[in-house]
Amino acid sequence: MSEIKVHSSEYRPPPPDRPPSGTRSPGVWVRQNLFNTWYNSLFTLILVPAIGYVVYRAIRFVLVTARWEIVEVNLTNLMVGTFPRSELWRPWAAVAILALVIGLGLGVTARANVEAARIRGIELTTSWQQNARRAAPALLLVAALVTFVRTATPLILLAATVVLAVAGYLVGRRIPPHRRRWMHLAVITGLLGSYVVVTQFDGVSLDRWGGLMLTVFLAIGGIAMAFPVGVLIALGRRSTLPAIRLVSVVYIELIRGMPLIALLFMGWLILPFMLPVGFPTPGRTWRVVIILLLFTAAYVAEIVRGGLQSIPRGQYEAAQALGLPPWKTMRLIILPQALRNVIPAMVGQFISLFKDTSLVLIVGLTDLLAVARRVTQQPEFLGQGLHAETLLFVSFIYWVGSYWMSRESQRLETRLGLGER
């Protein structure tokens, strides 16, 4: 019905008529918005200097007073922790593989969108401003990292990675529609390959990962696995079979009733006791990933259940009338709509998981935040109160990640026409 709206973000209707602009000079704007009543004038007079002062101090700190050498010296630490330096080519190879497949995926999607729009008679063009806005978080992160890099090698490798991503994108745009199916396989292979290249073939055990690399792995691992498990549990809770329903309800209520820290501790210390004798205990990091997965899945399940409940009965009945079996009804009719409705809540949960990964420092893993806390104890930086610098840097990385997820979810929402019907 609303097929055209699906791509409405790329199709830009002519801008609506602006209010006559000539009458609103800056002075008028200020008077109308900041000094329109006596109390608003008062607020303005108090808040503008206060905010201005805070912003001035913040900028002054970042650009003048901050001693960023602690971040410069420890940049590798912050990125990979105590990962053996002789094996650093492995994470770089993983990043290169990821850049290639992500570029490929974006290229294929871009072309598919253009073609889908063309079928409906719309010539789809993406302005460079749109692309730039989309890439802004990633560019910000790269810019921040480049500022702190002190040698040439990482810059060259970073440039090579960007070239790979662009190459992947261009190749992706040339893939004809009937080959597209294989691209999904390529993307999955790339994701697995990036993990394999680091850990296998005399690689480095997951337990020796650290820094940003560990944080990203925990977040992606947790999100990617919690999503399908959560959907299954949500379906289980709405199942007509009492046993499955009971198990799902107990699971959700049990997990949601416990703090994540308690769960992490249990997974770390108690899980090995509960496994059958002779069963190999998973490594520390995998135990943490499993706990993050179990924890997030319970919340995702409730979010998805909310989405399922928003689908009117008529949809089920219509699907039945078409002769669709229950699982096809679910997969083709109900789930796509239900999941679309809960994107904001779901992404909120994932952003929260991304930041919750910093709790793993209590179970002996050294994620990004843990590295930031301990580099201030190095003899050359000891007792100089450099926490502000390291914490600011780490917060910036967390912010970029969260902001990026938030932006992409908004894009997805508009693309799927959420809130438009």
Binding site: I188, G203, S205, W286, P336
Partner: protein, 382 residues
């Protein structure tokens, strides 16, 4: 198109999970990321030696056997204590406690680098030991009766004798706690330091006001802004902050650590109760570093000592395993040679990490040989 894009995210996770399972098995079965050649040797050497000394009953599921078959020592440390355990910009662990992890690894596995360091918080450290997540805990842990008893851990020979001290500004002219009438003393909250402070001051009948902080960096800021007259903590910690005192505030000379010691803090390696064999191993690995200092053997001259005549110098010959003396500690006869060649004796470790020439600049005081007025005293190796 829409359907296909929705399928993709649903497809990836199961495959990732599959990878998760295989990855997890790998992590448990073997430990990649270590020098393989050395490992193979160690694994081969371990059980073979046990067979030779078949007179001792060696339980196969003891920690010692586990460490040998694993080929790597899981050592619990603190990654945030200046001088004792921290991460260098090169991504390696360094410090006093870290070097004793290496001492144990060198003794048991013959390879000081075969250590997996696990950073632990103060709350998690003993639990991690009880859960066998680590083999030995060398994380500035004070040997106390409660820990020895109720917490089911055994403490080996003390590696560092610390004590709670008081740091004041030189200008204030305090020479002892008795002078500090009506002062503000800053300390960390929730530590035994608070209790020791109270008993020390009430013993002198001196009134004071405690001011507690969550971490050392905020405490330092408070001291910098004159909010406190005294700063109490372990003397090793105070020394670290004194050494780094900013020069525009007068540098290290602006502060003085009072001579008084308010508490005894013997920092010792800890193992789990009930595994005497493993405890002996760790204990004698530590003792060997002290014994070597007594003998005057260090990493630079150990090779010369290997040439001593057993008739002439039987003590050294036994210690270095030249005459294959084996006291049945579960260690190779030449374990001390591995320790000395790869790490060094106690004095070397001390001077490298916390001694007078380091950032901490700690004088040995109690951490000196018994012949020099310290407390380090190795039982005879015979």
């Amino acid at each position: 198109m829409r359907r296909r894009t929705l399928l993709l995210p649903v497809l990836i996770p199961p495959i990732l999970m599959l990878a998760a399972c295989t990855g997890g098995d790998d992590g448990g079965a073997d430990d990649p990321g270590l020098p393989d050649d050395d490992l193979v040797e160690d694994i081969d050497a371990g059980p073979a030696d046990d067979d030779e000394n078949a007179t001792d009953e060696t339980p196969t599921d003891g920690t010692l056997a586990q460490v040998r078959s694993r080929g790597v020592l899981n050592c619990g440390i603190n990654g945030q204590v200046p001088g004792f355990g921290f991460v260098t910009p090169e991504g390696t662990y360094e410090g006093f406690d870290v070097e004793f992890c290496q001492v144990v690894a060198a003794a048991v596995l013959g390879d000081a680098d075969a250590v997996e360091y696990i950073e632990l918080t103060a709350e998690a450290r003993l639990t991690a030991l009880q859960a066998r997540e680590i083999d030995v805990l060398i994380r500035n842990t004070t040997w106390t009766a409660l820990r020895d008893g109720a917490e089911n851990v055994s403490f080996a020979t003390t590696t560092f004798y610390d004590g709670q001290g008081m740091m004041v500004r030189t200008d204030d002219g305090f020479s002892s706690i008795a002078d500090m009438q009506d002062t503000v003393v800053c300390t960390l909250s929730g530590t035994t330091t608070e209790l020791n402070l109270e008993s020390a001051f009430s013993a002198h009948g001196v009134d004071y006001e405690p001011l507690t902080f969550e971490d050392n960096d905020t405490l330092r800021e408070a001291f910098l802004t004159d909010r406190c007259d005294g700063w109490t903590s372990d003397k090793s910690q105070l020394a670290a902050f004194k050494a780094e005192w900013p020069t525009d505030e007068g540098g290290p000379d602006a502060l003085v650590v009072l001579d008084e010691t308010m508490s005894k803090e013997p920092l010792s390696p800890a193992t789990l109760d009930g595994d005497v064999e493993w405890f002996d191993t760790v204990n004698w690995a530590v003792i060997a570093t002290i014994q070597a200092w007594e003998f005057g053997i260090d990493s630079t001259n150990v090779d010369e000592f290997l040439a001593v005549d057993p008739e002439e110098n039987p003590d050294v010959a036994r210690f270095l395993g030249i005459d294959d003396f084996n006291p049945g500690l579960g260690l190779d006869a030449d374990f001390a040679v591995d320790i000395l060649q790869q790490v060094g004796n106690y004095q070397e470790i001390y001077e490298r990490t916390v001694g007078p020439d380091t950032a901490l600049g700690l004088e040995p005081e109690l951490n000196n040989l018994w012949t020099e007025g310290g407390l380090l005293y190795a039982p005879p190796y015979r």
